[in-house]
């Protein structure tokens, strides 16, 4: 069948998503948007895990993705709480104005 998808196509898609995540992480100025681009990068890495798990016919790659999801959920809860705490003290979400450690 000529309609089979190469696994490399999935990996290239993950690379595209990861680089968009890196670019968004550097370009975005809103701290919530920056946090969302971290989630995008985590998702791209998860896609490579699933693609390689399919390639080797092993289920351990999928379990690794499961653990990544758990850690991402915990990270999102703590990170958003930190964002709320920052907003309470600094009254802004712009990362250029959150420079407490500079001066």
């Amino acid at each position: 069948m000529s309609t089979e998808v190469p696994i490399a196509a999935y990996l290239i898609l993950a690379a595209i998503l990861f680089s968009i995540g890196v670019g968004a992480f550097l370009i975005k100025r809103n701290v919530i948007s920056i946090f969302m681009s971290i989630e995008l990068m985590l998702n791209a890495v998860n896609l490579t895990f699933v693609a390689f798990a399919h390639k080797w016919g092993a289920v351990s790659g999928q379990i690794f993705v499961f653990f990544v999801m758990v850690v991402a959920a915990a990270e999102a809860a703590v990170g958003l709480a930190i964002i709320i705490a920052i907003f309470r003290t600094r009254k802004t979400l712009n990362v250029d104005q959150i420079n407490l450690m500079q001066n």
């Binding site: 089979e4 696994i7 968009i20 998860n46 399919h54 390639k55 289920v59 999801m69 703590v78 964002i83």
Partner: protein, 170 residues
């Protein structure tokens, strides 16, 4: 069929990710990230990971993104304004992410032959379903890490409550 599915949802994922990058308002970015996560769930399913496809929809686009949207609404986040520092980020960010993409795609394309194609009926005859396979490994070989994640979640809950609590002035 498989190819059409891949092309549609890969294009949707890339469009959502670009929309996340280009939108100025964080709520638009959050909703386009939901699109990316849902199309990734379809791609997981096409790779034979049904459990992860369901978990992606429930955990990522169901729980995490709702948390994001709640926080955006709670903080009344407006459009981001660009400052002098962000102009330098443009000059560093675009070439940097392009370099990462070139490096990754070079490696993947060089190994493209060795990686082969996706076979939908890859599972051997009489094989268990995907969820049964995952749970068998998860609850026998990886039982301790699985239990440790519950402690991690507990610590994360406590940390979130302590951090987000209003400080009392005595």
């Amino acid at each position: 069929m498989q190819l059409a599915l891949f092309i549609i949802f890969a294009a949707l994922a890339i469009a959502g990710a670009l929309n996340l990058l280009l939108q100025k308002h964080p709520i638009n970015s959050a909703l386009s990230l939901v699109v990316v996560m849902l199309s990734l769930a379809v791609l997981y399913w096409s790779l034979g990971a049904e459990f992860l496809a369901a978990a992606q929809v429930i955990v990522y686009s169901g729980a995490i993104m709702v948390l994001f949207v709640f926080v955006i609404m709670l903080l009344n986040a407006g459009e981001e304004e660009h400052t002098t520092g962000s102009r330098a980020a443009y000059f560093a960010g675009i070439p940097g992410s392009l370099a990462v993409f070139c490096l990754l795609s070079f490696v993947f394309l060089r190994e493209s032959k060795a990686l082969g194609n996706v076979h939908m009926s890859n599972a051997p005859a009489g094989a268990m379903s995907n969820i049964a396979q995952i749970s068998e490994v998860l609850f026998t070989k990886l039982l301790l890490p699985f239990e440790v994640t519950s402690i991690l979640i507990l610590v994360a809950i406590l940390g979130a409550v302590v951090l987000a609590r209003k400080e009392e002035h005595e």
